[in-house]
């Protein structure tokens, strides 16, 4: 695989991963509060944190870290505003990557 092909494959895979995380976050966001699986949410936030830091999306990484901490400390009040923020920012990162892939 050549350099540009590799870059394209990597970009596509990052997009897929972000979309998968976004779907999981959206499902949690729309679930009734009492039915939310905080452990699964914690893992998704953790995954977004690592992905975002790797692609240089530091604001998203920071939000994901705060959401992960809120999950581990079961801080439902913080999650009430962090979850929508994280979901939106994850979608924005996916969109930005898609635009980048088109430019290539």
């Amino acid at each position: 695989m050549g350099g540009s092909e590799l870059r394209g494959a990597l970009l596509a895979q990052v997009q897929l991963d972000l979309n998968r995380c976004h779907d999981a976050l959206t499902a949690t966001l729309h679930a009734p509060e009492q039915d939310r699986d905080l452990l699964a949410l914690c893992k998704t936030a953790h995954e977004v944190k690592g992905l975002a830091a790797t692609i240089g999306a530091f604001t998203l990484a920071e939000t994901a870290m705060r959401a992960e901490l809120a999950c581990t400390s079961q801080d439902v009040a913080a999650l009430a505003y962090l979850l929508p923020e994280l979901t939106t920012q994850t979608a924005q990162a996916g969109t930005a990557l898609a635009a980048l892939a088109k430019e290539d």
Partner: protein
């Protein structure tokens, strides 16, 4: 290109569940010449590990189906010599600290830098090669000794004579010397020159082991008996049992708790021990070699090391000379390690410019041979060519020379001139860790800060 053995499909296992990150890390590893096996879950990692027994594992601590620490424990149970490099995300560094306490070789914080990741993997394989070369045959043994004790200085000749004299005895040996002077290689040399050379050489570093687990690491553990009709699980062998017939090398013995020092003394007096959770006395034949980065006599006087244990251990001292006292030995060592690192990194470097050789003779080398290796690795990884020139060396080296030449004229100011507070902090902490043989807890004690502060700062340096 990495060493041939590392490039095989069975040498390296990468465990990362996020597909894009797995793809990215695998790409970086392949570009560096490795051929990693890939796993995306704890179960897949353990299956592939059991089948191929890779020697180095890059392991993400947060896996979808398992706790990475549990996976690490299982791997180390199956093959204790495996070098595990754990991967963690920013903000989860405490897990990584726990992993290193439980035997991880190193840890990396996301986002992973290419150089840092390849450096960690290369270092893990380099350490394994050293272990392997020390256990194969006579030729390899003498190679290892040559490597460890390259040099014609008077100071090293004295070390040679002392090793030859003590090797035939079974008396405990206490090796002294600054951090990075090669105390472990000296211990291996004593073992390899002795009649026990064909038996095991087992290492236990008291400062790198969780104090609560140290007794288990030393004496092993018998698990509680399970229900009636079930067989008792196997005893977990500690370092003492593993070294039966061979040599036990204990580093930083003064970091044992007072209770454990008492138990260790009983073991020395009786040549037998009792595993944790057991009542049986197990007889062993072990030759003991110890080291300490601090003066053990001072520790004994200060009450940190039991007096009776001190006199049991401090029978035959060997002092490893600092690099700055070894004259032109540094040129032989530099040439040897340059060839080794260049081969590992697939670079052409084979010699030094005259001003670099001159500079090497005048540096204080406070981190000794370990510092020399780091300087060479820095030059080789970041540059191309056949000759290592002054410009390729890390910028801090000139400051170190200032420190050496301005001794007595406010050296602290000279060495820190032009640096930011953050850079000064990094240097002071890194030097403290080196002085304590890589022990973060003891470096933290010296600097009067919490170990977690150092781990967090390291995490920030890794990112910058």
């Amino acid at each position: 290109m990495p060493h041939q053995q590392d490039g095989t499909a069975h040498g390296l296992l990468l465990v990362e569940d996020t597909p894009s990150l797995q793809m990215l890390y695998a790409t970086v590893l392949r570009k560096a010449g490795y051929k990693p096996m890939l796993a995306a879950s704890g179960a897949e990692a353990l299956t592939k590990f059991a089948e191929h027994r890779p020697r180095v594992v890059l392991l993400d601590l947060m896996l979808p189906d398992a706790d990475g620490l549990m996976v690490m424990r299982e791997i180390l149970e199956l093959q204790p010599e495996t070098r595990i490099i754990v991967i963690t995300a920013n903000g989860s560094v405490n897990n990584a600290i726990e992993a290193t306490r439980e035997g991880a070789h190193d840890f990396l914080v996301k986002p992973l830098g290419d150089i840092r990741m390849i450096g960690a993997v290369a270092s893990a394989f380099a350490e394994l090669r050293e272990d392997v070369s020390l256990t194969i045959d006579e030729a390899s043994r003498s190679d290892a000794l040559d490597r460890a004790f390259m040099g014609r200085s008077v100071a090293m000749q004295e070390v040679h004579s002392r090793i030859a004299a003590v090797a035939a005895s079974t008396a405990p040996v206490f090796i002294l010397g600054e951090s990075g002077t090669g105390k472990e290689m000296c211990a291996r040399a004593v073992h390899l020159k002795s009649a026990r050379a064909a038996q095991r050489f087992v290492t236990l570093n008291c400062s790198a082991t969780d104090p609560e687990r140290l007794e288990i690491e030393l004496f092993g553990q018998s698990p509680p008996k399970s229900g009636r009709g079930q067989a008792q699980s196997q005893v977990r062998a500690g370092a003492v049992a593993q070294a039966d017939g061979g040599t036990l090398f204990v580093q930083n013995i003064q970091d044992m708790s007072p209770d454990l020092q008492a138990a260790f003394l009983r073991f020395l007096q009786r040549s037998s021990f009792t595993p944790v959770g057991d009542t049986r006395q197990i007889k062993v034949d072990v030759r003991l070699i110890c080291t300490a980065s601090r003066d053990p006599t001072e520790d004994m006087r200060a009450g940190r090391l039991r007096e009776d244990l001190y006199y049991r251990l401090f029978v035959i001292p060997i002092t490893m000379p600092p690099l700055r006292a070894r004259g032109t030995d540094i040129h032989l060592l530099a040439q040897h390690y340059l060839a080794q690192i260049a081969a590992e990194e697939n670079k052409q470097f084979c010699r030094f410019s005259p001003d670099v050789l001159d500079l090497f003779l005048n540096l204080p080398w406070q981190g000794n041979v370990r510092e020399l290796i780091n300087v060479l690795r820095h030059a080789v990884i970041l540059h191309e060519g056949e000759i290592v020139t002054r410009e390729m060396l890390p910028p801090g080296l000139s400051d170190a020379r200032k420190l050496a030449t301005n001794a007595g004229h406010s050296p602290t100011n000279a060495v820190f001139e032009g640096l930011t507070m953050a850079q000064i902090e990094e240097r002071v902490i890194t030097a403290a860790i080196a002085r304590h043989d890589g022990s973060v807890p003891r470096a933290a004690r010296e600097l009067d800060i919490a170990p977690s502060t150092i781990y967090r700062k390291r995490e920030q340096w890794d990112k910058s």
